[in-house]
């Protein structure tokens, strides 16, 4: 508990050392469309301990939030601080719009392996990770059993296809929900399967590596699953699939640990690692969202202070546990006894941390997203062969900045 207390105490002391008593307003853009109670509690405490400081919270849905923060920064009116996808950090850092962040060695050691790499550009940290997720396969056992099958986790892609087929053939439900909309989680879901087949987007030297056998096998999986997917997969993004799952319209889909809280309590569900392909073990994409502090507001230090308060020790634990996120810090090493992620189905998500792959960091992440949606939609709409689509995706990736 000593380290945990030290980190928490440090954060409180830091946030308590009010820089000045002059009136200042921090403009905080919170992507996701809501301010969670755990964050609001820290913000309230922060403003109470900083006389004259107010925080103007603006919660914006994911679809437009990151564009909004960037547009404001580009127009010379940046927000003070923003919670957004870590994939935006490279673009913001390379364009000198955000300030770098430093961590003490103790703070660095507290994060889960791989987390800080999602905020690292050019050897510097550019954001403070605030939410972390790994993914797993959710199975609606009621639907599977109605199809006459045993509700058992498929271990391989062959098992997955067979189970999806059984459900589609024997019920009104679709075997599996796959995201295919023009949206970031279409790429994320594809990467969940690609990383479960030993694939990669960039190699260790940063060279494009998408045009590979592993990618072809993954896209072939999508082609094989196509008859058993929900109707019109190009219309669906992952988060909307919880409605299909709750409605018994799909038997399986891949999502994060928050899925359990979104599903109807009466559904008998099984949570399992993502089945693996012929070329690799089960994996998952490791995604973080971070708090970035923008340049040019005149109160960057104050904003960093708030960001540190939100992401340190007890505050972060409150957020992770109440939201149902994969733990971003190694709380057991910080002295937390019996942390929430040692119970129930959590080991499935925690195990993914060590086997997962990163969300690729590029400057033009919308272009990266387009590479994947073009490829995935191409197979869903029968616009090309697996080979052609992967070759094209490889060429398009090479052109992404």
């Amino acid at each position: 508990m000593t380290n945990f207390k030290t980190l928490t105490l440090g954060a409180i002391l830091l946030s308590g050392s009010a820089l000045s008593a002059q009136a200042e307003e921090l403009h905080f853009i919170m992507c996701g469309g809501e301010v969670r109670a755990a964050d609001q509690a820290v913000i309230d405490e922060f403003t109470a301990s900083h006389e004259g400081v107010t925080v103007n919270m603006e919660a914006v849905p994911w679809g437009t939030c990151q564009d909004k923060s960037m547009q404001l920064a580009a127009a010379g009116d940046p927000p003070s601080i923003a919670y957004m996808g870590s994939r935006t950090l490279r673009q913001l850092a390379n364009n000198d719009l955000i300030v770098p962040v430093t961590f003490t060695p103790e703070q660095e050691a507290a994060y889960q392996p791989g987390v800080l790499s999602t905020v690292t550009v050019g050897g510097q940290y550019w954001g403070i990770p605030h939410a972390f997720s790994t993914k797993a396969l959710y199975i609606n056992c009621d639907v599977v059993e109605a199809a006459g099958a045993e509700c058992k986790a498929p271990e391989t892609w062959e098992d997955l296809i067979a189970l999806a087929k059984t459900v589609t053939d024997n019920t009104d439900a679709a075997g599996i929900g796959i995201a295919g909309k023009d949206f970031d989680n279409t790429m994320h879901m594809f990467l969940d399967f690609l990383y479960s087949n030993g694939g990669e987007v960039f190699d260790a030297d940063g060279n494009p590596a998408l045009d590979s056998q592993a990618t072809r096998e993954t896209l072939q999986l999508y082609a094989d699953l196509l008859p058993y997917m929900e109707a019109g997969p190009t219309e669906w993004e992952r988060d909307a699939m919880k409605d299909l799952f709750n409605d018994g319209q799909i038997a399986m889909y891949v999502t994060g640990p928050w899925g359990k809280g979104q599903h109807n309590a009466e559904i008998h569900q099984l949570i399992a690692p993502i089945p693996h392909g012929p070329s690799g073990p089960s994996g998952t994409i490791l995604i973080t969202d971070s708090i970035a502090v923008f340049k040019g507001t005149g109160h960057e230090d104050l904003a960093i202070e708030l960001a540190k308060a939100l992401t340190s020790g007890a505050a972060q634990y409150d957020l992770d546990s109440s939201w149902g996120l994969t733990p971003i810090l190694q709380y057991e090493n910080l002295g937390v006894a019996d942390p929430y992620y040692t119970h129930d189905d959590w080991p499935v998500f925690v195990a993914g941390i060590s086997t997962g792959g990163p969300e690729p960091l590029v400057e033009d992440f919308k272009a990266l997203q387009a590479v994947f949606t073009n490829m995935v939609q191409g197979i869903m709409l029968a616009d090309g062969t697996v080979d052609d689509l992967v070759t094209t995706a490889g060429e398009e990736l090479a052109a992404v900045r």
Partner: protein, 307 residues
């Protein structure tokens, strides 16, 4: 004889502004206003199109944004799709608007009520209307798929926005739904301005309904039809919300028009210079289209005797 003193007229005693200066002083505020909100952004967009402006600044790149655009096969697909979208949508709006105006112009009981009922698609916020259509088109929870399944016409859910062809035509249907009421009301107003004497004279001569419509109504309202065609074409060409809310330009670019492509490049990807080049191309295309249209409008007006 008493001396008379010539009294100059009152106006002559005043120091009068020259007529030209007076006229310019009246026009100046409007010109200033137009200069600020129209000309300056246009010039700035043109300037930006020669840079690689992005989040972090800009450098001059000459014609490279245009060269890249015109060497891209995708760009020509998008231009073709935009004109096809515009042609189909405007044609349908005009046909539907003409039919609607004719019905509303007929002497039927309660026609005032019908004239009000035709307006909601135009009056309600466009976003609300389009979200409603998005729900109608949804495969699982949508009205259309549900009805078709209930009637036994289809066995499985059909997601109209998920396939390239159906998404494109579904977007056109929604655009026509939004745009038709305005066309209807304008054409109705034009029809009401046609002299009754013409119809009575034709009726006396034995002309039937279709003949009167074809030889009196259409020629009389032709200038309004052509004007509506131009306005509707420009609005449809630049129609953004409908496509964006329904499909965001997908699937696989099937509903990406020039304005959607420009938004994606300039705003979503923050490539302001490349986006500006696209915007300049749009201005050029619409200007050329408008000039061509004005030429034909002039011909139509001459043909039908309008000034």
């Amino acid at each position: 004889m008493a001396d008379t003193v010539a009294v100059p007229p009152r106006q002559a005693r005043r120091k009068v502004l020259p007529e030209g200066v007076f006229a310019w002083s009246l026009v100046a505020p409007a010109m200033l206003f137009i200069g600020i909100i129209v000309a300056w952004p246009l010039v700035e967009t043109f300037r930006l199109s020669f840079t690689d402006a992005g989040l972090g600044g800009e450098t001059y790149v000459g014609w490279s944004n245009y060269a890249e655009l015109f060497h891209s096969g995708k760009f020509y697909d998008i231009v073709y799709r935009t004109f096809y979208w515009m042609f189909l949508s405007v044609s349908l709006k005009l046909v539907m608007g003409l039919i609607g105006a004719s019905l509303l112009n007929a002497a039927v009981p309660g026609k005032a009520l019908f004239r009000v009922l035709v307006m909601p698609p135009w009056v309600i916020p466009i976003d609300f209307g389009v979200i409603g259509w998005k729900w109608l088109y949804n495969g699982y929870f949508g009205f259309l798929s549900g009805i078709l399944q209930r009637l036994g016409i289809i066995a499985d859910p059909i997601a109209l926005l998920a396939q390239k062809t159906s998404a494109f035509y579904a977007a056109i249907v929604t655009d026509v739904w939004v745009g038709t009421p305005m066309v209807t009301l304008f054409l109705l107003a034009a029809m009401q301005g046609v002299s009754r004497d013409l119809y009575e004279a034709a009726w006396v001569d034995g002309a039937g309904r279709w003949y009167r419509f074809r030889r009196i109504t259409i020629p009389q309202i032709m200038p309004v039809i052509v004007s509506m065609a131009l306005l509707s074409a420009i609005w449809t060409f630049n129609s953004f919300e409908i496509i964006w809310i329904l499909t965001e330009g997908g699937p696989r670019g099937a509903t990406t028009t020039l304005i959607i492509d420009t938004y994606k490049v300039a705003i979503s990807s923050q490539r302001f210079g490349e986006g500006a080049a696209r915007a300049v191309v749009i201005v050029g295309l619409l200007t050329a289209f408008s000039l061509l249209y004005l030429y034909f409008l002039n011909k139509v007006n001459k043909h039908y005797g309008a000034k």
